[in-house]
Amino acid sequence: MKKSKILIGVAIVAIAGFIGIAADHIDAPAVQGGSSDITDFYAFQGSNTSNLVLVANVQGLLSPSATGSASFDENTLVEFNIDTNGDAVEDLVIQATARDGKMYFFGPTAPTQPGTSSTILTTASAQGSVDITPYGTDAIIATSGGMSFFSGPRDDPFFFDFAQYSAIIGGTATSFNDPGADTFAGTNVLSIVVEVPKSMVGGSGTINTWVESKRKQ
């Protein structure tokens, strides 16, 4: 009996841990619900297997009615970090920031300095820009130097039965349903997607990647 109580406790704490949540949606007080809140990060091989695709999603939990007026914050820099030698320190960055309806990309290139403070690398030899796709129109794609760029609203690719977690927290359930229900179905995010040749980020082997948002001071 005591053991089952512990298990239920475990479930409740687990669910609470995920709340807010999801992948990184509204994960911390300083960023939750704000324009710099990263909701998700994806990194995978492209349909052209010589390329990698990096995806950063921000401003999650957009309902369709809220999506048309959602916009990228021009004071936020989204930075993809790439560590090519296994020390968890970025050797290359790809920076993205919005200005006046366009998303500008700089890199991959070495940062001026690694860490939590950045300047935008406007002299990088690899760079490009793309018009931010307006809500309700076909995806606008730009290519430059072997790279492809997109930014704009997308379906939130994250999926998770958040509602059943809530039910467990509320004490009305002790386990998941089968089938579950995707609480993120029908919601949108603002996405930044860049496809880059592997040859520009290390070529072969394994790299470490992560994404950061940084605010102009």
Partner: protein
């Protein structure tokens, strides 16, 4: 009482999310951009870190509530030293019966891997969070990352060989996205329309 605190915290987050949907503040466009060349003149300055992520749900699950902003602004190379013990304590609070997980990792080893929050990415082939064979070689859009994490936290050492623990907690039974992804750039699906 602890559970009540958690519930209140959970509720406040839901409220925060709801409130956010109502406040799409229009940003002040003070920049006059003619092209990339002039961009350099408008985006000069220092940008300071606010958020960071690599593997999904790491901050949410393993970082204690008072440390979430600190985790987001600690560089990955310092995260292990700063947060591994917190991760281990929180893992064992989540699952007091944890011994090893399906990867054979004990609590110290598993949380040591998790605390340095970077996503390893293979440049040589399959890129997946976990597909039954490849482990942490990337994260594809269709990867069922939540279920993988639930299995590793709650499922015990034999979760993938027919003897999982905490069977009701290791799969949310949402196995894929609500709409199909594209096989070509930009891969993510078009947004839901009104």
């Amino acid at each position: 009482m602890k559970f009540r605190t958690i519930k209140i915290a959970a509720l406040s987050l839901v409220v925060a999310a709801t409130a956010y949907n109502c406040s799409n503040e229009k940003m002040d466009n003070t920049y006059e951009i003619e092209g990339v060349d002039s961009v350099g003149n408008t985006i000069k300055g220092t940008y300071i870190q606010e958020d960071q992520m690599a593997r999904p749900a790491v901050n949410t699950v393993f970082v204690s509530s008072g440390s979430k902003d600190a985790f987001n602004t600690t560089v990955p190379s310092n995260q292990g030293a700063a947060f591994q013990s917190m991760f281990q304590n929180n893992l064992l609070a989540l699952n007091p019966g944890y011994t090893r997980n399906a990867l054979g990792l004990d609590a110290a080893t598993f949380t040591s891997v998790l605390a340095t929050d970077v996503l390893t990415l293979s440049l040589d082939g399959t890129t997946t969070f976990f597909d039954g064979t490849n482990v942490l070689t990337g994260r594809a859009l269709a990867d069922d990352v939540i279920t993988v994490e639930l299995i590793l936290i709650f499922g015990g050492p034999d979760a993938l060989t027919g003897m999982p623990q905490n069977v009701g907690l290791i799969d949310d039974h949402v196995d894929g996205n609500d709409v199909a992804f594209s096989s070509s750039f930009p891969y993510l699906a078009s947004p839901h329309l009104q």
